[in-house]
């Protein structure tokens, strides 16, 4: 298992919606609904924003939503705000009973 594949960067204007992908294989993303997403602002601790593909923890804005199709999971952020500018990492449980992170996507709010 190498890292899950995420686009290096995505961008959008305030108020717009963006979607970023997280592509794995049938040995990880495709096998389980155990994909999670983390937001990390520069110099800060990662924060869980989506668990089990679609679940939003208490306190996380409903502007964040997750989905999955086959070996690819996606994170959608609607109504982009300046504070959404950060790095986003996906992670998945694997058939080796390990966890695998993606390479991360830098979101720029224009």
């Amino acid at each position: 298992h190498s890292a899950l594949t995420q686009p290096a960067s995505v961008s959008g204007s305030p108020g717009q919606s963006i979607t970023m992908s997280c592509t794995g294989t049938s040995s990880d993303v495709g096998s389980y609904n155990y994909v999670s997403w983390y937001q990390q602002h520069p110099g800060k601790v990662p924060k869980l924003i989506i668990s089990s593909v679609t679940n939003r923890p208490s306190g996380v804005s409903n502007r964040f939503s997750g989905s999955k199709s086959g070996n690819t999971a996606s994170l959608t952020i609607s109504g982009l705000q300046a504070d959404d500018e950060a790095f986003y990492y996906c992670a998945s449980y694997t058939t080796n009973s390990t966890l695998l992170f993606g390479g991360g996507t830098k979101l720029t709010v224009l």
Binding site: Y34, S36, V45, P46, K47, L48, P57, A91, F101, G102
Partner: protein, 119 residues
């Protein structure tokens, strides 16, 4: 309130040993896995391994197996990550985080420990 508090930043020389810690509070230590995540400077998150403090059952990423040791001390609710011989390439921020069993996500994170290895 769930808290994971990590030990402070370390500066070490190549070849030295090191043990960093993660002290947890606010929940029963033995009922959740604790994981360790590495973040190289300016780079992505990497899952290193996890430990179940109740029985010290441990799972390592293949990339880190044999390179580090993860342990837990139930007497003081502390998980640890240790190296026997550091390399410059171990320079990174190390996070501990609580893993929700059966759902496999990290819901609470420590503040991170910066380890710098330099001669």
């Amino acid at each position: 309130e769930v808290q994971l508090v990590q030990s402070g930043a370390e500066v070490k020389k190549p070849g030295e040993s090191l043990k960093i810690s993660c002290s947890v509070s606010g929940y029963r230590f033995t009922t959740y896995w604790i994981g360790w995540v590495r973040q190289l400077p300016g780079d992505r998150l990497e899952w290193m391994g996890i430990i179940y403090p109740d029985d010290s059952n441990t799972k390592y990423s293949q990339s880190f197996k044999g390179q580090v040791t993860i342990s837990a001390d139930r007497s003081n609710n502390t998980a640890s990550l240790q190296w026997s011989s550091l390399k410059a390439s171990d320079t990174a921020i190390y996070y501990c985080a609580r893993l929700v069993l059966g759902r496999y996500y990290f819901d609470y994170w420590g503040q991170g420990t910066l380890v710098t290895v330099s001669s």
